[in-house]
């Protein structure tokens, strides 16, 4: 198992009209990341299409595998790099069943994917109108570590990250499309999820302006002790790198033993109370 992994956090803006442009832009960043010897490059939520595509999602969503996942697989193979990115995923069984999905691709092909569990449908968000929620929270045992995926609003629910950690996840990757007014929430929550689970958290947010929403970027890599290892700029296309050392997980777990101190009986009570909320 590789102990040290170099990550590239690639926050890019999308073109919500010329969709082919987005994958070309991803390719440019993948080339740059590989030149810097990155093992893994991470792109934002729904990066293949942009976030605010509304009804056009029905024509743009693709199955996995599909034309876009194959293009990304080719890029991963060509550059011998791992890639995480977001896309609208169409069910292979039904035409109007779409998921907001994060895909993990290795040089050997698509390794796995995660379907967003918590779909924001409030304020400017209308995800439940378009997406079906996911039901699984897998951790992927890859050659570059045990990786768990969450998407944007998922991070408001500590149980998503906790569940991944309990499954042995060492690196939680949160891809996001967060508009500017919510920056302070995410800056707090990304650090909290890392600290409370003693886990690495890589957060990659969209940038650019879509339908009047301004996505703030600010992607960051956070160590299990809450230290910010890398921080991207706000508001502009930017790629930053960071190295994670899985050996640090054991040291932090000893210093802040939150996993040791978990109280499962509280979860039982929480479940009962949540059902009756």
């Amino acid at each position: 198992m590789t102990k040290q992994v170099k990550l590239a956090l690639a926050q890019i803006s999308c073109n919500c009209s010329l969709f082919a442009y987005n994958i070309r832009k991803m390719a440019t960043y993948i080339t740059k990341a590989k030149k810097q010897k990155a093992d893994l490059i991470i792109f934002p939520e729904l990066v293949l299409t942009g976030y605010t595509i509304r009804d056009r999602i029905y024509e743009l969503a693709e199955t996995i595998p599909g034309p876009s996942t194959r293009k990304v697989e080719n890029l991963a193979k060509l550059h011998n790099i791992n890639i995480i990115y977001g896309m609208p995923e169409k069910s292979a069984k039904a035409n109007a069943v779409i998921y907001n999905t994060a895909v993990l691709t290795t040089p050997k092909g698509t390794f796995g994917y995660y379907r967003k569990m918590y779909l924001p449908t409030h304020s400017v968000f209308e995800e439940k109108r378009y997406f079906r929620q996911g039901y699984e929270s897998p951790t992927f045992a890859t050659p570059i570590g045990k990786i768990g995926l969450i998407i944007c609003y998922d991070i408001f629910f500590p149980e998503t990250a906790r569940l991944l950690r309990l499954k042995g996840t060492e690196l939680i990757v949160c891809i996001s499309a967060s508009p500017a007014v919510r920056r302070s929430f995410f800056e707090t929550l990304t650090a909290a999820r890392a600290i409370e689970n003693t886990v690495y958290v890589a957060y990659v947010n969209l940038v650019g302006v879509e339908d009047g929403l301004q996505f703030w970027g600010g992607s960051r890599l956070i160590a299990p002790n809450g230290r910010i290892l890398s921080q991207a700029k706000y508001d502009v296309d930017n790629m930053v790198f960071g190295i994670i050392d899985y050996a640090d997980l054991a040291r932090t777990e000893t210093f802040v033993p939150t996993l040791r101190d978990l109280r499962p009986e509280l979860f039982t009570e929480m479940k009962a109370l949540t059902e009756k909320l």
């Binding site: 919500c16 010329l18 942009g50 209308e126 301004q214 508001d235």
Partner: protein, 280 residues
């Protein structure tokens, strides 16, 4: 939630950055050659013009000064010119009095005493000229509406709010004042009473019946789902005053939407045709 003036405080540097980025991005994506807007010499249009110039350059910002005989104010014209000079904005001055007279005299039984109907003709005439320049020069039309006036519908439907973008529409009037001060709009423009200038001696606060400092706090409370009774209590206002503002807000929704249409088919424009802005 406490409705005190501090709740309306903005971070002017950040707000300026967001608005200018928004304008710059829209102009770039639409491949327009610039932005055109009406400049009355008031705070809203001065601020909007200045922000536009800061975003894309004054040489790509066209300010139309459109005085008319009944409401012409030399002070307002001077203020508009002052802002244009300060931010190097291109200006075009068109006295619309003749156009208006032609319109008035072309209408059978024109009612000169109906201030609202007549006043709205002025706002729509200005809109017509702004769009003329937009089409002629491939420009984006920018409305200077603020959130206070937009929420209570204090504007002319398809008049001053008719535009492609409204960069400061999410800022209450008192917040526009903060931003205007930050970007260097001259003090007299910020301090003078706002007026739509649809008829002589018209001032916004007199017509609305409440000063903006209080109106903005009422609207902020409504925006945050507060009950009218609680807003009134906190602001030491009669409950009726707050209820009337709420009524103005709710009753003016028709101004903020596209025209209401009956649902007849599979997908209906403005209802469930939910499309993104396409800027190919």
């Amino acid at each position: 939630m406490l409705l005190t003036p501090s709740i309306l405080k903005i971070n002017p540097a950040e707000t300026k950055q967001k608005i200018t980025r928004f304008i710059k991005d829209y102009v770039a994506k639409t491949k327009a050659k610039g932005v055109v807007l009406g400049m009355s010499g008031g705070i809203d249009s001065s601020n909007n013009a200045a922000l536009t110039a800061l975003a894309i350059g004054g040489n790509k910002t066209y300010g139309l000064l459109m005085p008319e005989k009944e409401t012409k104010s030399q002070i307002d014209l001077t203020h508009a010119q002052q802002v244009a000079k300060q931010f190097r904005i291109k200006t075009i001055t068109i006295d619309i009095s003749k156009i208006l007279v032609t319109v008035y005299t072309s209408i059978p039984n024109f009612n000169n005493s109906n201030l609202k109907a007549k006043g709205n003709l002025k706002a729509r005439t200005r809109m017509m000229l702004i769009y003329y320049y937009a089409n002629r020069e491939n420009l984006i039309v920018s409305a200077s509406s603020d959130k206070s006036e937009t929420m209570i519908g204090y504007y002319t439907k398809y008049g001053d709010a008719a535009a492609d973008i409204a960069p400061q529409q999410d800022l209450y009037k008192t917040q526009v004042r903060q931003l205007a001060k930050y970007i260097g709009i001259p003090g007299p423009i910020i301090r003078k009473p706002s007026t739509p200038a649809l008829w002589p001696n018209q001032t916004a606060e007199k017509e609305i019946g409440i000063e903006y400092e209080k109106l903005d706090l009422i609207l902020y409370g409504l925006e945050h789902f507060m009950e009218t009774s609680k807003i009134a209590k906190q602001l030491s206002l009669p409950a009726r005053t707050v209820e009337l503002i709420k009524k103005r807000w709710l009753n003016s929704e028709h101004k903020r939407r596209t025209p209401l249409a009956p649902k007849l088919a599979f997908r209906t424009v403005s209802k469930d045709f939910r499309l993104p802005y396409n800027m190919e």
